[in-house]
Amino acid sequence: MTNVADPDIRDTGRIAHPRNHLPGESSMWFFVIGDLLIFGVYFIGYVYYRGLDPDLFLQSQARLNLDIGAINTVILLTSSLFVALGTSAARNGKVPEAIRLFGLAFAFGVAFPVMKAFEYIPEVTAGLTPGTNLFFMYYYVMTGLHLCHVTLGLVILGFVIRSLRITVKPRMSFVESAATYWHMVDLLWILLFALLYLMR
């Protein structure tokens, strides 16, 4: 909220965008809000079916690996922090720092699917598959759908790093759109973690 009217020209000579605008492109917000609504409907569906058979859901939930779930939460939150710092750095024209921070965010982001593999593989080999019961169907479908979002987010972060590397002046609307998307992925995971792993 500091540079309301004038573009901020820093010592690097780059121009930061005015800050009184919606971060990112408005169409990305359309996507984010819609995606959250869709996941919201899925969550309502999950809670409804959980209410029909709470014992089954609780017993199945106890078989999930809570540790990896918690580690993944920390991983995504840390990644999101680096994205926020990277966006701020890019906005202030500190491109090399932004590249470093987005690189770190990307590295943490990559750790998420790796940890997920460590979670899925022992579960599947132990016979806990989507066909086991309704809880595991929900678990695999929702976390799988979220994993698709993470993968897409990593591709987008990769494009952000590329764009920061090849252009002199960062395209802030793109960087902010990517950051918005990544934060949404983060938020969705926190909700999923609470619903699937923690809810008693």
């Binding site: 169409s27 359309f30 995606d35 869709i38 899925y42 079916y49 989507p130 479908v141 759908l145 698709c148």
Partner: protein, 268 residues
Amino acid sequence: MSDTVVTAPEFPAESAPPRPRNRKRDQWIAFWLVPIFFNLFGVVFVPLSWMMPPRPPNNPTPAIVEFMQSHNLLIACAVLTVCFGLASVGNAVYLIQIKRMSVSPVFRYSVMMGAMTGTIVGMLFPMFCFGLGAFRSGYEPSTLSMLYDFGYLAFIGSLGCFCVMWMSFGLAIILDKNNVLPKWLGYYTVWQYVTELMAAPVWISKSGPFAWNGLMTFWFAMVLYVSWQIIVYVCIYRAIKNQPDDTLETAWLHAEVAPSDPRPKADA
């Protein structure tokens, strides 16, 4: 005199009679066939055969046999056999608009191939399965149950083909710099295809929210799909309407009327 000789080839269109707004007739015909097709589809699937909303996967065998050999299903399959080809004409309106976008042709080909494979698996296969039951009497109940499973799984569980199609369509809209279709429609398309991924569990579940008639795999996806389909056609309508005549693929047909210019004649 010399003026007229020189200027005539430069403005050949002036010599042609002014055409009314009919240069997009091909696109409009393809476009208006779509609601006809979907309405026909809707009538056939819902009130005629009650194939949709999907019957339960764990239907008892007598109920399956009765459905598979019903006269209404026979009429539905006959109508589908006749009007099935309209789907490809409907897809033409997407492809024409994607061609105007500033994106790689890979997107257009992916949409085309996705539509083709999706239509074969998602429409032709079910039509054959239900058609066999309806037109050929004498099959064992177990065979009819298999055809029933095959038909519904092909119809609802084949959405992966459409996923690639809509993903390419959505990405093309998002990446396009010519603003042929609004950006938000691209994102809406992305939701739409993501919800179609939800159809994968129908292969596993036989009842509950993930069965082929379930809340998650059918009803949510259907609500989003139907609203998306209507909105996308409104956007396509506007895109066709706003398309300048000189960007039409058939523009060269109208431009070639240059009677006194020797070069086009040599080309022709």
